[in-house]
């Protein structure tokens, strides 16, 4: 087996294990990362929402906001399933874009 194949197997295993990144924090009742709170959480912490933050904070409009599908059913099992899907999508996109960038850059050599 080539190195690349082994590495991809490793990445695949990581993708399948990714729900641990949801489950373990949930088990310990942890919230999000420090300084990454949503507006309503900020209001709870400091008592108000800073003006600029109100203006700039996105209203959750990313296509797969929070590694979840809009309208997905609640529950750790569902979230985990979508989390793995998100991992696969992100991995595939990251690899594809990086691969393309690499190919583009190699081709741009002078006299090539």
């Amino acid at each position: 087996m080539t190195i690349i194949k082994k590495l991809w197997i490793g990445i695949g295993i990581l993708a399948l294990l990714s729900p641990l990144g949801l489950i373990i924090p949930a088990l310990l009742g942890a919230g999000g990362a420090w300084g990454e709170w949503e507006i309503d959480m900020i209001e709870k912490i400091v008592g108000f929402v800073p003006e600029g933050m109100k203006r700039l904070a996105d209203s959750g409009k990313a296509p797969l906001q929070g590694y979840a599908v809009p309208g997905q059913s609640k529950g750790l099992v569902n979230e985990s399933f979508v989390y793995i899907l998100s991992a696969i999508i992100g991995i595939a996109l990251a690899a594809a874009i990086m691969f393309l960038l690499a190919k583009l850059l190699v081709r741009r050599k002078k006299g090539h």
């Binding site: 990581l14 990362a33 300084g35 109100k54």
Partner: protein, 222 residues
Amino acid sequence: MHIPDGYLGPLTYGVMYAATVPFWAIASWKMNRTLKAKQAPYLAIGAAFSFVIMMFNIPIFGGTTGHATGATLISILIGPWAATIAVSVALIIQALLFGDGGITAIGANCFNMAIAGVFVGYGVYRLVSMGSTVGSRRRLVAGGVAAYVSLNISALLTAIQLGIQPLIERSSSGEPLYAPFPLSVAIPAMAIEHLFLFGFVEAVITALVIRYFQKNEPEMLG
């Protein structure tokens, strides 16, 4: 440490974009000069690895979470310039597709993790491993130490960018317009959790993977 939209004011996020773009440009130029076509698959895996490793949120006392970035490990395997691009690609996808990290904050997040994290990690690794052989224990320790320092530098930069907001982005009545936590809060909060937990996680992951390559595919580290 993916800073969301709304935490950094335009002064900061503008400067961070300005700081990041030259690195991307130089990285592209460097890759153009040194890259061989057969390396493309490894670069792709680097970006993929960075993306997926950041999905492993780790809880810490106080109820927050953190994650590793893989910046140091990737820089060791594909070089710092390619690693800058690889981690940036992962971060940009996270911001645009998953809302993990703000769009205005892409410059800052990329600077903190994909540039500072990568170059500090790579620099410390090269320093500590200087003169050692590929399979040596020193390489392993170098990777771990480098990863630890690298992640903490990323965290510190993040904390500084957040913590100066109440100072530099204020309303006429002195109210913070963006991130409301001063340096005296932001720095200890970020530093403690990265010094005492997440830095070690990054170090262990890095060391484990280096160990794997040392035993199985040492040419990847050569």
